[in-house]
């Protein structure tokens, strides 16, 4: 092999850089997050599968309806009426941001900008 003094370090740099996810997590274990579900209620405004993947879309629609149209009432697909409010409706059941919202958001590296306008609940954790 020619130019081994340049080729070998080059290969090493390539391998070390590209295996970053492997060596940086060596021996680490990150169990899947377990968001704390409310004890009082069994169902959310939509079913679990929908809320799991699409809650941000729904919250965005609610935001637009409330802030732009001053409309606070939302009728779910099951015909039930809900009061659209993050702090007064969502957080009534999901009372802890740390134990519910942050669990998955931190795990997946998501930084929602809800709390730029809403007041973040004070929690001593």
């Amino acid at each position: 092999m020619y130019d081994a003094k340049k080729i070998v370090p080059g290969i090493l740099i390539f391998v070390v850089l590209f295996t970053f996810p492997l060596w940086s997590n060596m021996g680490k274990a990150a169990p899947a997050p377990k968001p704390e579900l409310p004890k009082t209620e069994k169902v959310c405004v939509m079913d679990t599968a929908y809320m799991k993947t699409e809650h941000m879309v729904l919250l965005n629609q609610w935001r637009d309806l409330v802030v732009r149209d001053a409309n606070r009432l939302w009728v779910g697909p099951d015909g039930k009426e809900h009061f659209m409010s993050l702090q007064n409706s969502c957080m009534k059941c999901h009372s802890s941001k740390v134990k519910f919202c942050d669990q998955c958001h931190n795990y997946a590296g998501v930084k929602p900008y809800c709390w730029q306008c809403h007041i973040e609940p004070k929690e001593n954790m």
Binding site: Y2, I7, T53
Partner: protein
């Protein structure tokens, strides 16, 4: 294969690659597509790239063959262009950095045009350079953003990238500029290939296939983020399991994710055997990484046969007496 055959062939190939996980995962082969194939692909990627580089390094480059685009180093009173015709390591390093990061040789791209009958002129053509920059850099950003699936806690680098990338705050989940730019870049590179007749004529399946593959990867990724969302926590459980060698296959991740993962695996496995290996090759291109020092350093061809030479001194030693007898001039008189 002609141009349209090449295109159809590549399109069918990518189509089959999309269908395989679609059928497989629906039939319940989640650990094959979620664990075994990704691991195998990554192994092929690393072994393949290293083997390629070692193979390149084994071929001797006995002569300096840099492309020279400026004045060679000469007399001190002639201004040398040390960037476009480097004579030392410093110039080469600078030239390589500009080449790798800014695609400087593509920036020189020119187009030959005919006008007024047989007259020709050369025009600057920067679109390829721009398309390549958009494509490569958005791909890099997208690639780095995916580190959020492989680090826990998520590295600050990713958080920073995400906030810059999504600063428009359009929609929820926030629109990332890099995703759209990547799709636009790959689409441009494809359209360029089919709209310029000369380029279309020389295009092969190995040109179309990577484009279609990357297009499919981008499209499935965008669909997964904005349209048919998948269980992101489940996805991270799987990917983080792969990174920590404790693979788990959570239930209920959408099939779209497995298609995306399979296509990425194919890209990784295909990488060392295709034109995509220019990622490593750009560092080893002798027309860029050699200093133009042929007139300062003697480069000896390593495969030169050891030629037996008979120097004049030896000749004279052999025939000196006879030469003196014959009255021929000699350099050493005994």
């Amino acid at each position: 294969m002609n141009a349209s055959q090449s295109m159809v062939f590549s399109l069918v190939a990518v189509g089959i690659l999309v269908c395989l996980p679609l059928i497989g995962v629906t039939a319940g082969m989640t650990s094959l597509f979620g664990v075994i194939i990704p691991y195998a692909a990554v192994v092929v990627f690393f072994v393949g790239i290293v083997a390629r580089v070692v193979r390149w390094a084994r071929s001797p480059v006995p002569f300096r063959i840099p492309t020279t685009c400026g004045q060679q180093k000469s007399f001190p009173w002639i201004k040398a262009d040390n960037l476009d015709n480097p004579s030392d390591t410093k110039g080469v390093v600078l030239r390589m950095i500009l080449e790798v990061l800014l695609f400087r040789s593509l920036f020189r791209n020119t187009r030959l045009e005919f006008y007024d009958g047989p007259k020709i002129r050369y025009a600057s053509a920067k679109w390829l350079w721009l398309g390549a920059i958009v494509f490569h850099y958005s791909f890099l950003v997208v690639f780095l953003r995916h580190l959020r699936f492989f680090t826990e806690p998520v590295t600050p680098l990713v958080t920073l990238l995400e906030s810059v990338d999504g600063f428009l705050e359009v929609g929820l989940p926030r629109l990332y500029i890099s995703g759209l730019a990547l799709l636009a870049g790959v689409t441009y590179l494809f359209l360029r290939r089919v709209s310029i007749p000369q380029l279309k004529y020389i295009s092969l399946p190995s040109d179309y296939f990577p484009l279609f593959l990357i297009f499919a990867i981008t499209a499935t990724g965008l669909l997964m983020r904005y349209v048919f969302k998948v269980d992101i926590v489940g996805v991270k459980e799987l990917t983080f399991g792969l990174a920590t060698f404790h693979p788990v296959v959570p239930k209920g991740i959408g099939v779209l994710f497995y298609i995306h993962l399979f296509l990425v695996s194919v890209l990784f496995a295909y990488f060392p055997f295709s034109k995509l290996v220019h990622m490593a090759g750009v560092f080893l291109s002798p027309t860029r990484n050699l200093p133009n020092n042929s007139r300062m350093v003697r480069h000896i061809n390593p495969w030169n046969y050891p030629v037996k030479v008979h120097t004049y001194e030896e000749y004279e030693d052999e025939f000196r007496e006879k030469m003196i007898e014959a009255g021929l001039p000699v350099e050493k008189k005994e």
